[in-house]
């Protein structure tokens, strides 16, 4: 009887060492972090079984490696220490955000080529960026929100882009350095249902090289 008891304790001890039985499932791990400028984006993780959206910094989605038909495990917070333990070496090698391009987004009043009050002030900044960089390449890209049909919005986005181009040209930017394109309602910055007014989608992006 004694002997059996001893064997039992040895078995427990061995289990403790090797973790037998408690086979830890292998999981992939995806963690959302805040951008250097404090903004937070969105990451979607999709498996054959379904998908999860990550939109809070410090939250993680896990994916079972051994069962691809399972959807990802719902987002949960991860401690900073765990992030540092797992991702420290990778994060320490992440280059600072590049500065090849400076993007400024100008917003418009609904259904017009009129800049919003806040965006008017940004035009001077764009001009000084073009000057200080002696830029030979400035991209002007027009968009609309999802109110109205495609053809109409294509036209509206074109008028917005041309309005901004003309504004820059009249302030002394060389026309042959400006490249205009426009996408109507096809490329919303904030996805919405059709016919939904969204101020952040009524925009012209100005990218200065």
């Amino acid at each position: 009887m004694r002997r059996w008891r001893k064997a039992f304790f040895v078995w427990i001890f061995l289990c403790f060492l090797t973790g037998c039985g408690a086979h830890r499932a292998k999981r992939d791990l995806i963690v959302l972090l805040p951008d250097p400028d404090g903004k937070v984006g969105v990451v979607t993780v999709t498996t054959q079984g379904g998908s999860q959206i990550l939109d809070k910094p410090g939250y993680a989605v896990e994916v079972e490696v051994e069962d691809l038909n399972k959807p990802p495990i719902a987002p949960h917070p991860v401690e900073e220490k765990e992030i540092a333990d797992i991702f420290g070496p990778a994060l320490s090698m992440l280059p600072d955000s590049g500065t090849r391009f400076i993007l400024t987004i100008l917003y418009f009043e609904p259904d017009t080529t009129k800049l919003t009050h806040e965006s008017k002030d940004l035009v001077a900044e764009i001009l000084s960026t073009i000057k200080s960089r002696r830029s030979g390449e400035v991209f002007v890209v027009g968009h609309t929100d999802l109110v109205g049909n495609e053809a109409y919005n294509t036209g509206l986005s074109q008028r917005r882009a041309i309005y901004v181009r003309d504004l820059l040209v009249s302030s002394g930017v060389k026309p042959n350095t400006l490249f205009v394109s426009f996408y109507g309602k096809a490329r919303p910055l904030v996805p919405t249902l059709d016919e939904v007014p969204e101020p952040r989608n009524r925009r012209v992006e100005v990218i200065v090289r």
């Binding site: 992939d28 972090l33 250097p36 990451v43 070496p89 990778a90 090698m93 992440l94 992006e205």
Partner: protein
């Protein structure tokens, strides 16, 4: 007269040689259809770039092309920055394939398709995610990660 025609012939030969050389180098320049898409910014320990079957040791300033594979050894890590200002880094024991990278603002063409085979990766979005939010993806053996203008990290166990 004779002397003159000789120098003319020489001149013609020299010109022909120049044209020939130009045509060779010109062709070499235009044959290079895969442009540089990124550059290595940080390296620590063992890190390599596999290009068309050749393994190149990663050094700061090394150019990266579409279809390159980035690899790090068990002691290695590396960071690159793409043409659109997207930055990406790998921790030890990692492997990432660049299936597609298109950044052509003049044509309005944007796309990032990366394949994380194993290891750890850190990612900070550049312009592509801002301009074309649906065009950046990382595939892993288990899932597809869609990226909308953000910073994130991922660990992929691999097969």
């Amino acid at each position: 007269m004779n002397h003159n025609s000789l120098s003319l012939r020489r001149m013609f030969l020299a010109l022909a040689t120049i044209f020939f050389l130009l045509s060779i180098t010109g062709e070499a320049i235009f044959a290079d259809t895969s442009p540089i898409i990124a550059v290595v910014e940080n390296v620590n320990g063992t890190a390599t770039v596999v290009r068309q079957g050749r393994t190149i040791s990663a050094k700061i300033g090394l150019d990266i092309y579409q279809y390159d594979t980035l690899r790090t050894g068990s002691d290695g890590s590396m960071g690159v920055i793409f043409n659109d200002d997207t930055s990406l880094s790998l921790g030890p024991g990692s492997m990432l394939v660049i299936d597609e990278f298109v950044f052509a603002p003049r044509e309005g063409k944007y796309s990032i398709a990366l394949r994380m085979v194993k290891g750890t990766v850190a990612y900070l979005s550049g312009l592509i995610s801002k301009l074309a939010p649906e065009s950046a993806h990382i595939e892993t053996p288990t899932s597809s990660i869609g990226i909308r203008g953000t910073k994130f990290v991922a660990r992929v166990e691999g097969e």
